[in-house]
Symmetry: C2
Subunit: 585 residues, 2 copies
């Protein structure tokens, strides 16, 4: 060992001890005839002292050190004359007697501080230096702790972690697969799993009963801030259970994690139907840290001569408590916000509740105060509140726009505190959603999801209204997990495939290995998967999942540190029986 103690553990109790530390030079300060060095390792920082008068040579050597040099020092623990209460080791310092330079260091291209001067690009290129920053390392420490706790909880509940293969077959789950050419099987390709969905169902057929895996999954999609080509799932499946059993089991897991990691006692999770989530929040992942539910206004505001509303299929609004102080300029900015192409609203109607209880709105000329008071009542609005209204010809699109406005107002009013958690289940998802692109019904979750038994009779007559035994866990407006009870009956599965537009042959071709397995005694089963990266980023309070991943990729799917992907040798292409061609051809 190069050290007897870490840089984080020395206190007044250690005074007089001779210790050996190893770590990186955080900073060097010269004051009078003294040189002070903050030595950093994963565990903390300790002040080293060199005194010109005591050992001029040693002090001179210390003066020549640079930032991020790797040192080993031996010295005596002494009490500081001026203590630093911001550092756990701030009461002591080390009077260094021996200094060994374990390695020199070039000056890093950005500062290794919690708030660094490095931009995203340079931090990614030198990720190994970025990871030296306490704030980034702390995220990965929390991630480690979360996976330890997940395993502890699930192991105690009798779940077995089973590794499923990474080199699998292409499964039709919507997104694009990454593929891996097989040298031993020329012209053929493995696919990297988008999730172990079918394999975990096969494990249920095998009788494994309670399975989990913390596992890498892969999707070749165009990337956004919260998407990575490879991501990690906490993947779980259980047999001989219904939806209630699964919700309880994983509500328990979330409770365990909140308690162990954040010290928070999670209350019993509310459950909201998908239908209510859409109606009141315009989203299947509502941020319920704040209320501000939608109020529908068709009955009140339609038919009074305001053509925008009169022609609308949907009129709805939110009430922002205490925001009547918003200036004209602020309201214009909000209007611009909803009119941005990403949101796409045509305009924004607002109404303030004045000090005397009357309503002052941007559409006063179309509405009597009586109608406006009806609206006020519908919102339960009070003096000082601001009502914001959107309308449109497409119910779902308008709700989505209103949802964006609601989130924006939540942010502006400080209602989305990252240290506050609101966790709930969304249940009763529809089985199918219509795809304009494919001109057919698509599985909302995936084609193995079971319809609610009481809705099965609607499969033939009104498939779009059939509800699924599917559920999502939503925290602070983020879908952290989701799953479903699966179909275990071959006939029901065939029917569902038929509604999805597959011929029996196509179904057999695409899902044959699973359907065949089900013929040998499939138990009732279901499960869910959490996105670990998102779960960690929520616990950390990050907007992006990147900084809770050690080596993330950028929006072009590149690892700029490794310079991957890259070119490969012609020899290797030949071995694989592949030729790179111009994509334009």
């Amino acid at each position: 060992m190069y050290r007897t103690t870490t840089c984080g553990e020395l206190r007044l109790a250690h005074l007089g001890q001779t210790v050996t530390l190893a770590g990186w030079v955080q900073r060097i300060r010269k004051m009078g005839g003294m040189t002070f060095i903050d030595l950093r390792d994963r565990y903390g920082m300790t002040q080293l002292v060199f005194n010109q008068e005591v050992d001029a040579d040693l002090c001179e050597r210390a003066n020549r050190l640079g930032r991020e040099y790797v040192l080993q020092v031996t010295g005596k623990v002494e009490e500081r004359s001026s203590k630093n209460s911001h550092m756990p080791t701030g009461d002591i310092e080390i009077i260094v007697s021996t200094l060994t330079i374990l390695n020199e260091a070039l000056t890093p291209p950005f500062t290794i501080e919690d708030e660094t001067d490095g931009g995203d690009d340079i931090r990614m290129k030198y990720r190994y230096l970025d990871l030296r920053r306490n704030s980034v390392r702390a995220n990965l420490e929390l991630r480690h702790k979360m996976t330890i706790e997940v395993r502890q909880y699930l192991d105690a509940q009798g779940f077995l972690e089973v590794e499923t293969p990474v080199l699998v077959n292409s499964t039709p789950e919507g997104a694009r697969d990454f593929v891996v050419p097989s040298r031993m099987n020329p012209g053929q390709f493995y696919a990297l799993p988008q999730s172990p969905q079918t394999l975990k169902q096969l494990l249920m057929v095998s009788g494994f009963d309670r399975y989990f895996q913390i596992v890498k999954c892969f999707r070749d999609e165009d990337l956004r801030a919260d998407r990575q080509p490879e991501f990690t799932q906490i993947d779980c499946e259980m047999s001989f259970v219904d939806q209630e059993d699964i919700l309880n089991m994983f509500e328990g897991m979330s409770r365990h994690l909140f308690k162990k990691i954040k010290g928070i006692d999670l209350p019993t999770l509310p459950r909201m139907t998908w239908h209510d989530a859409m109606k009141f929040y315009g989203s299947d992942k509502p941020d319920t840290r704040f209320d501000m539910k939608f109020v529908e206004l068709m009955g009140i505001l339609k038919g009074h001569g305001f053509s925008v509303f009169d022609e609308a299929t949907y009129i709805g609004g939110i009430c922002a408590k205490g925001a009547a102080t918003y200036t004209r300029k602020q309201l214009d900015t909000l209007t611009d916000f909803v009119k941005r192409p990403q949101i796409g609203a045509k305009g924004l109607v607002y109404a303030r509740v004045e000090a005397d209880g009357s309503i002052k709105s941007s559409v006063d000329k179309f509405y009597t105060q009586e109608v406006l008071q009806q609206m006020k009542a519908a919102f339960n609005a009070e003096v000082g509140d601001l009502i914001l209204i959107l309308s449109g010809s497409d119910v779902n699109k308008t709700r989505k726009q209103l949802s964006e406005l609601r989130l924006e107002m939540g942010s502006q009013l400080g209602l989305r505190d990252k240290n506050k958690y609101s966790c709930l289940w969304i249940v009763d998802f529809p089985m199918y959603e219509w795809s304009d692109e494919e001109n057919r019904l698509m599985a909302m979750h995936h084609p193995f999801t079971s319809p609610k038994p009481e809705d099965i009779h609607l499969l033939d007559t009104a498939p779009a209204s059939v509800r699924a035994n599917a559920y999502d866990m939503v925290i602070n407006g983020v879908e952290v997990g989701g799953g479903s009870i699966r179909i275990h009956d071959a006939k029901l599965q065939a029917k569902v495939f038929e509604i999805l537009g597959f011929t029996p042959e196509e179904a057999q071709n695409k899902f044959g290995f699973l359907m065949n397995a089900f013929k040998y005694g499939a138990p009732p089963h279901g499960g869910l998967a959490y996105g670990l990266d998102r779960f960690v980023s929520l616990f950390v309070g990050l907007d992006s999942i990147r900084d809770c991943i050690a080596f993330p990729k950028n929006n072009q799917g590149r690892d700029v540190m490794l310079n991957a992907p890259g070119l490969i040798d012609q020899v290797q292409l030949d071995e694989l029986g592949l030729k790179v061609v111009d994509k334009e051809k």
Copy 2:
């Protein structure tokens, strides 16, 4: 929940209780007016009873069930009249009152028993049925338990599990990479990691200090029984340590695993130099469950007119205790064994120690009894022992042949008990080994391995004799883990690359990202990696790693259950800018 109890937990203490069970039909027996069904789940088996006289309808339904049907039954726990002491639940049975068929099952293509009638191929095709067998599931349960214990030990020692990416760059570590074409970066490829070697070294540069990961690794190699294209490593790295620290840390981990999983108190592990391992066992992974060390005989047997020995560069033998009873036929079979092309010896000389202490050998006509007695003394051979001798012109090759013979004799004499464990460290590996194929020195471990400080001066003059700070953990003749202290000094690294025949440009090109990282303050570091699959198979007592992997691939790298790899759509090939060409061209 479909059950109140599992099929493994009912005992006499539960008599009279009404319980609900769910599981698979293991077997059905009719006796008189009674039908008995063994119901199986992951936790065990419970006998169900149906009585023709009590409920003829129910009994009739039970009679129509088939093997592997999935049932839910409710009934009362009663004491069996004829108990089965081989089953944990053998004291009780369930008098069934309600029977629900949860799913039907086709007759499985092989029996779901510990000893099945299914061959390898059919078991792999229907792996989900094979996994229903207790013996196979037990392996995966043990694997789960091992990873839980590994994490518990390492977490307690302050190690952080950090996930490294699966989509990386191609690294030159000897074996062939699997590659993944990038759609967003046409003509470019990711590689799947052969190990996270360089990434874990970067984490040390980042100050992570103590890292581990249980992680999938990939090698596109031709396959054998103990090789899979994807396999799992327990990958570890530490900073500010020397070899001694690492050996102690991971000896501790092995001790923890042996104690927790097998209930065995592992003694302090012996350490054997690579040189001694080769000299006494002809292998760098000696099976030390039994002694039978090599004895070199050049000094005794050369120069007596037996041309085979007189022309040999190496003569060595082993002494098989008590094997003098081997018949001529058994000795001929041994001779055939060493002459098989996989082993390649020219012949086998044997010598028995007779009841009177004299030696009777196959080369008696060349040697006086005096010389033969010298040989006997060299082996410490006793009455009843059998001495087996090989010779050859290539020391290493002959030692390898003798090693195979030693292992075979160990097996024949019952000295390789799978329930006995002999665990040791092999240390002081050479830095380099000569490659006839490449006509240059190659890194024996990998090019980042540090030479022993006391041998560094030999790098220029006698590189082949330089020893590395590299070590393997060997259990029962299997290399379960290995690693090294890494080079952290840029100049030493450059020298090592030079000896490996790289120009500075080539070195920069191949290893630049790591060498650059080292310029920013790399700490002294080292680590090791265990092969989890091998470790589990040793604990289970399997010869192949396959049955401790849920979904293994066959020798052609195929998953015959998933039918992977497979063809992909032209559309997808076009998106990737790839064309499949005939490999012959």
